[in-house]
Structure formats: structure tokens, C-alpha cells
Symmetry: D2
Subunit: 282 residues, 4 copies
């Protein structure tokens, strides 16, 4: 059967006979002086939904509960920025140093969220679902966790969502799990990743070469429990990191000479010292 070929012509003729052949979208409806996102007037959403809640509505199609809204905010805040060393930040800064517009820096940074950088979320969601499939076939949780980890090790791979270049205990992952518990949003994906975590910590080689759960793993588990598709797991990281890319591109153009050679190791932090939120924000 042909790849598209004469279809084109056929499609076209059918269109004029059948209004039902128009292509369809279920996201936003535009009429004069009216913009409805998933059915809600956008001006009614403004001031009533947080940005994170409205992102959930846009991606999933329904309003989040308040608990899910708070979890969405936490997921997005967790991945806002990770300093100057990620390749995505360096790609954005290398574009910014040529005095390109902000959007070119952002596009360049986004393109660096490749399979081995911030792309772990989708892979980890699939990894957890493989374990949950075993549980549904009757395997106990801890045995299923062991099985999927062994499969990774057998093919010489680190379980997705575990390990970090800098951190032995990722503070963002711990906080997401704590919030899932407090907000009563913990589901089977979080239970599965925590079971994998316990198994990895029990390995004899844990002391020398730990494989802590990382923020990608925590987002994968949490967003799996919220019902996100695989692809949209990666989308959450991407949305979260855009403001960070912008802050770096803007700082690069504001503080540095154009066309400089950016050495990722040769920098110092000169921003505010470590500080705590005021009591009123806690």
C-alpha cells in the first residue's frame, strides 16, 4: 500500500463532500473576543488557577484537584535550573554569546534535552510500568522491582531514574516523595520506584557506588501516578527548565562580552548566600 501518494487527491475531493473530514483539535477554541482553553474562558482562568494548574488543564484537558495542582507546582519548581554545567545551559549560553535573540537560545537549550539529558523521565516511566505489569501478573512488589533492575544490570545499564553526576542523595526527589505522601497522591508508580530504591540500597556495593533515586525518577513516578502519558513526562521537565535557560541567556548577554569561549568548569557563583524562606512563606 502506498505511503500517501494519490490519497492527497482523494482526500481533497472527499473534503468538499463531507464536513466531517476537517481535521480536529480539542485544545483551544477561538471566537471573536473569546478564547476557551479546554472549554474554559481564559480570562476566567486568570487569577483563579495557578500557572501550574492551568498547565495541567492544557495538557490533560480537565481541572486538577487542589492536591494535584500543588504537586504540579512542586514538580515544575524542582527542575527550574541546575546551574551552568548542563549541556542544555551551555548550548543556550553559546547561542546567547553571539547576541542572538532570547528565543534562539531557548530553542538551542531545549534541543539539548537529548536522550541522555532530561530524557530519563519517559524511559523511567516505561521501566516502572514494566515492573507494574509483573505485579499485575501476580509477582510481589519487591520481586518485580528486583527483576526489572536485574534486566538493566544484565544489559550493562543503570536503572533509569537512578544515579546522579553530582548528588548522592537528590534533595528534589526526597521532597517530591514527601509531598506525594502528604498530599495522598502516592500510587503504584511511587511504590514501585521506592521498592527499587530499597533494593539498590541493600546491594553490597551501595557504600562505594550508590545509585540514589534522582529527580527524573521521582518526576516519572509522580507523574505516572497522576496519569500522564510517557511523552508528557518529558514535557514537564522541558516546561520547567525554560525559565532557567532564559535566566542564563539573559545573564550571559548582560554580564559577559560577546563571542567569548565558555569554559563550563571555570566559573564562580557570586549570587546571594544561602538563605531561608521567611516564616510567612512556610
Amino acid at each position: 500500500m502506498a505511503n500517501a501518494t494519490s490519497n492527497g487527491t482523494t482526500d481533497r475531493r472527499t473534503h468538499s463532500r463531507d464536513a466531517g473530514r476537517h481535521w480536529r483539535t480539542a485544545i483551544t477554541q477561538i471566537e471573536p473576543n473569546k478564547i476557551l482553553i479546554r472549554g474554559y474562558p481564559v480570562d476566567e482562568l486568570m487569577g483563579r488557577l495557578s500557572f501550574a494548574e492551568a498547565i495541567y488543564l492544557t495538557l490533560i484537558g480537565e481541572l486538577p484537584t487542589p492536591a494535584i495542582g500543588r504537586m504540579m507546582s512542586a514538580v515544575l519548581v524542582s527542575s527550574l535550573d541546575h546551574g551552568v554545567t548542563p549541556p542544555s545551559t551551555l548550548a543556550a549560553r553559546n547561542v546567547a554569546t553571539t547576541h542572538a535573540p532570547l528565543r534562539a537560545s531557548v530553542a538551542s537549550g531545549v534541543l539539548a534535552f537529548g536522550p541522555v539529558h532530561g530524557g530519563d523521565i519517559t524511559t523511567c516511566m516505561k521501566f516502572l510500568d514494566a515492573g507494574l505489569a509483573l505485579v499485575r501478573q501476580g509477582e510481589p512488589l519487591d520481586k518485580a522491582a528486583r527483576t526489572i533492575v536485574s534486566q538493566c544490570f544484565d544489559s550493562n545499564e543503570i536503572p533509569p531514574g537512578f544515579g546522579h553526576r553530582f548528588h548522592t542523595r537528590d534533595p528534589r526527589a526526597a521532597r517530591l516523595f514527601q509531598m506525594a505522601l502528604e498530599l495522598e497522591l502516592e500510587g503504584e508508580h511511587v511504590r514501585m520506584i521506592r521498592s527499587v530504591e530499597r533494593f539498590l540500597e541493600a546491594r553490597p556495593e551501595h557504600a562505594q557506588s550508590p545509585l540514589p533515586v534522582n529527580v527524573d525518577g521521582a518526576i516519572a513516578a509522580v507523574s505516572g501516578d497522576l496519569g500522564f502519558d510517557y511523552e508528557l513526562g518529558n514535557a514537564l521537565f522541558l516546561i520547567a527548565r525554560v525559565p532557567g535557560l532564559i535566566a542564563h541567556a539573559h545573564e550571559e548577554q548582560a554580564r559577559e562580552k560577546p563571542m567569548r569561549q565558555i569554559d563550563p568548569k571555570d566559573h564562580v557563583y557570586d549570587g546571594p548566600r544561602e538563605r531561608r524562606l521567611p516564616e510567612t512563606r512556610k
Copy 2:
């Protein structure tokens, strides 16, 4: 021998002697098991700041007041999506139809926020500042508004932040001005744009060819009053629209055949009918 000419080597030696030669960043500090954004531990921000508040912190460097936090959310929600017809959405969908990854669609969409699409915010901020400079030189507000509008018309241009392809009264702009008033965040930029608005409405040709203030104009005025740099005005639109681009790229791949020819006019909306927020969310 290193490739980068002798300069490279000289620079490098100087570095080890002179800590002052490192380049500097004030955004995020990374230490093992610790991530500080503008000085605050990211895990402390999670669950305590909304995503919009944390974006403000990342871009501006300080915590927003609660009123500014609510305004940031409203600005970002206002620009989440505008249906399938903007060129940015079509660029993202044309990439998605080739089964490219989500990030390629987003990058492509972001690149379409060109000077005449979503780039109006920076231009409008400069336009308002030109009026405010006249006010500071002693000109009354309404006379300054008239002057800057006349300058536009004289060079055959529509005042930036005014006019819309679809809307004669942009509901998003109206809502932003209402919120600025209620949150007591109205400042000189909002006063200037409202003065321009009144002047344009008083023109005899207003009835046939109205030039209503649009959402870009409202964001420009509001973010000018919040103290944003020109470049960061455009950044707010860009951050806001990324989730919309993702929703469209995801829908394209989920609902349509690959490699289709996307006619922007030939579509119907088949999502939820118009609906209102539940009373509990108001």
C-alpha cells in the same frame, strides 16, 4: 600543542594565579546534595512557592510579594494558547507530523515568536517608556500618549500592543488591567497604556477600524510596572506558550497520520463545550 593559539595557554596560567578571572553567575549554586536557586534551597521552594512565583525568583533574583505572585500567574495563564492558527503552533505541528521528538516541535515553535508574533511585548515596553520619558520632561500624560501614537502613525505603523487579527476587545487585556487595579499593582506603564487606549478610542475612525489594546500590550504595561527588563517581557510570553506548543505537538502525533499537509483553515474544534469554573475555584 593546543589548538586555541597561545592566548589560550596564557589565559589558563593567569587563571590559577587569579581567582578574579573566573567568569561569574548569580543564578544557581550547585553543591553535592544541595541546589540553591538565587540562594534558596530548591527543595524548600517546592510546595511553598507556586511555579509562577519561582519563575519570578529565577528571572529577577528576589521573592515576589503575594500580589506580584498572583499577577505573574495571571500573565502566564493569559498566553498559554491561542488555538491552531498562530504560525508558531503551525511550525510546531509541521515538525510533529514528521514524528520528531517533542523538544524539536517546541524549539521550532519558539523560533516562530518572531518580531511580528509575540515579539510585540519588548517593542511595546519601549513605546511606553518613550511616553514616560516625555512625562518626566513635564508633558501631561494624555499629551505624551498622543505624541507617541502620532509618531507611529506618521511612520505608517500601528502602535505596538494595539490591534488584533481576531479580537476587537481582547478579554485577556481587560482581565490583566482589572487585576492590576485590584492587586494595587497599577503603575505608570499601565496608566500610560490606558491613556493611549483612550486616545485611540476617541479617533473618528475608531468605529470602523478599532485598535483595541491586546494581550501583548497589557503584558508589556504590567511587566514594565513589575520592573522587568525589555528582553524579559518577551520571555514571559515565551514561557507561557511552551505548554500550549506541547499540547498541540502531542495532539498532532496522537490524533493525525504522519506527514500530513496541515491546512490551518481547515479544522474544527471538537473539545469540551464552553464551561465555567466550579464555585469553589472562584
Copy 3:
């Protein structure tokens, strides 16, 4: 204190002790007033190598023979443009209509060379190599061709490099095979794809739904015989199409109003009528 953990500092010290720790590149050497591409002074290449020959040198590392140089030109010319309907061209035009710079249009178009558009070359190179592996195990050429085609059909896929939306006989593929023959560059990849072609033409359903070899298939076979890596097969298409993307972005900005809605089906061609090269160019 440097931001990049203590590792950074340790690495750095090691560098000054151990030249072997520098990273390496074998493409271009820069010295004051001297640029050597793969060892050759670029100013010596200028005027002596064609652009296509110099591209081969840059990618492969050695000078092509004159025959390979002519084949490189033909491969690159074959894919220069395919009109306004490919999604890559539409992505580029949708960016151009926002008056973004040329490079943003090109980036956007390049991102649309997704897995199902212009990405067939790598897949087809792997497909042919699977057949050649069977031949090396002793299977006759025509039996190997049948085996790999059947594997595609069994998993409901069209053999990569075959079938076209518009063409039942791709004139570019025919010309590339003819040149491979004349230039004595025909090798095992071309022989394998021609064997697949014969098998597909002999199917009873060939008359109603032909699966002609397309230009991607021909480039895959030819560049496989020239010794290109899988990834660089796709690179040839990408290099070839950039001038086409530029022509479209430039035409869009020169001939059309900004922010127009681009319907891919609703266009007419108004360029020069069909013409032939002058005798002197043949």
C-alpha cells in the same frame, strides 16, 4: 570556590600534568593566519575543489576521487528542493512569516527532517546491510532481497527507500543509479537495492500499488557504496536541503504579507516554464 564540585579542580590540576587528558579533534587545525581542514590549507582548497568534494573531505577526512566528487555533487543536487508541501518547508515558511531571521527558519526546517521525512536514508542503509549480511552468510542476492522485504511486510511496514507520495518512478533515483554505473561506483549496496526493486516490481499487486525505489533509497545505496556511516547518510540529505529551505524562507518574506496562514494545498507555481540546459552544459 568554584561551583563545579571539587572534581573540577582535581581534573584541572591533572590537565597541566598530563597532555593526554586534553580532548581531541581531527577536523580542523587553526593557527594564526592558517586554517587547515583535514590537513589541507583551506585557501589551497578554494578554487581547486568543488564544494561537494570539499564536503566529502570534511566529513570523511580524505580527498574524493574525481568520480566520487561527481557522485557527491549529484547526490547533493538531487535533494536541493521538493516544492512547498514537505513539512520541513512549511515549518521554515511558518517561521519566516513572523519575520524571524533566516537562520531561525533554517533551524526550524531542519528539525522537521524527522524519522518519517528525509530520515529514511539511515534506515534504508541498515535495511540493505541486513541483506548484505545474509549474502555474506552464503545466501544468493535475490533470495536475500526477498528475505528482508518479507520481514518488512510481515511487520506491516513498507521497505525503507521505497514508495513515494507523488512519484511512481522517482527520476532522481534513476539518474543516481545511471551515474553510479557510468562512474563505475556501483557496489554491493546498489546491487542489493536493485535486487529489492526487481522483486517488488514482480509482485502481482505491483500494477495497482507500485513501490518504486525513491531518492532516499538511491542515496542510501550510493552512499553505502561510498563508505559513509549510517548517520552521515542522513547528513547528506540535510546538507542538500538547506539551500532549498533558504530559498523558501527568502521567497516567503519577499513575496507574502507577514503572519499569513499558510495552506500547503492552496498554491500555484509561477516561475519559469520547463526548460533544458543549454548544449554547452551537457
Copy 4:
């Protein structure tokens, strides 16, 4: 009801009545089994035009003379690559290290051809045209050259097309001027830039801080004489550099570990030693 306001419907109806309302393109005509670029069958161009000649045809619309074809090749070869230190190359490598596909690296690199990197060609074409406008008003060539240089210095800018980070005498510029002379393609733009060059070399400060004409300046002058639009001047650089970006992205993935931190100064060249073209290629 279609989403795109009633305009959409009206437009559409008019189309079927009025062929003149279709949008137009003059680049490529596609018919079944036929592809005409600027009127010429692409399979007739293959093997008969060099890639550089076919690029000229695609961009300009007519066949180049053989001399112009040779000059196009030289211009494109001149800018193929400049080693690992340009920000565009680093942006491409930072994307490649995340194991993103080749096209994402290329897009990212292309976005770094910002206003201060490879964007000089358009600016320099305008600079030379400003001088030529003075000549047309009766000013002698050398006086016009002095005037436009002084205007740059007065606003604290280096004349576009002059000066280089690494080279005090750009070998690519010298070779392009030599070829323009030999091929009898030297026109008013080359004469103007050489007059500027002589004026800059006669400055007393020339010995300590020379401002040699660079390859961007030479391309600007040569392509101005060939009749290229301003925007297409930049396009030539962009087309030329894509193969270099690909070579770097491919080398990065072939030789280095993923997710490495790329220090632009910390590299060595380990490719072929300096070598000369064989006599047969001269």
C-alpha cells in the same frame, strides 16, 4: 463551524471562484515523476551542475556562468569550518553530547550564527553600499571609503568585515580577491572594500592593532558584485558551515563520552599533519 472565524470561510469560497487568489511560488514545480527547479528537471541538473552552481540556481533563479560557478564553490569552501572554538560549533557539540539526533545539533549550531558571529556579511554589504552611494553622488572612491570608516569609528565600531580574533591576515579573504581578479568578477563592491583596506592599513596604529579584511568582508564584497541580496549574503555562510557543524557533531558522538563538559580551550588537534593537494588537483 470552522474555528478560524468567518473570514476563513469567506476566503475559501473566493478561492474556488478566483484562481488569482492562490499564493504563488517560483522555486520548484512538482508533478508526478517530475521535479523542476527554477524550470530545469532536477535529474538533468544532476551530474551536469556542481552543487555550488545548483545552489546559485536555486537562490537566484538562473544558471550561473562557469566563472560565477567557480566563485560560488570558492565562497562556500572558504567557510566550511573554523575548528572547535566558534560558539556555533560549541552549541552543536553541547547538543550532540546529549545523544540528540544530528539535525538537533545542526539546528542549534545554525541558531548561533547570531549578529556578532557570521552575521557580518549582511552588515558589511550594507556598509559597502553606503560607500558606493557616495561614489554615485560624485565622491572619489578613496574619499568615500574614508567617510564610511570614519562613521564607524565615530560610533565606536569596527568597520564590518574587518578584524579577526585569530588572524592578522585572513588567507581566505586574500584567496577570494585573487580569484575575483582572475575570473574577471571584480566589481564595485570589491573595489570599495579594497579601498577601505588600504585606508585602514595606512593608519598609524595599524602596526600595533591591525584591522585586516576578514572572510566575511570578502564574501560580502564578492557576493555583492554577484548581485546577491543582503539576506542571501548571510545565507552563503550558513550553507557553507552546515557540513562543518555535522562533522563536529558526528565526531563528538563517535569519540567522546556522553554528557561531558566541553571546555573550548582544552583540546588538541590529532588529525592529519599539514599536507598539499596532489599536483593533479592544482
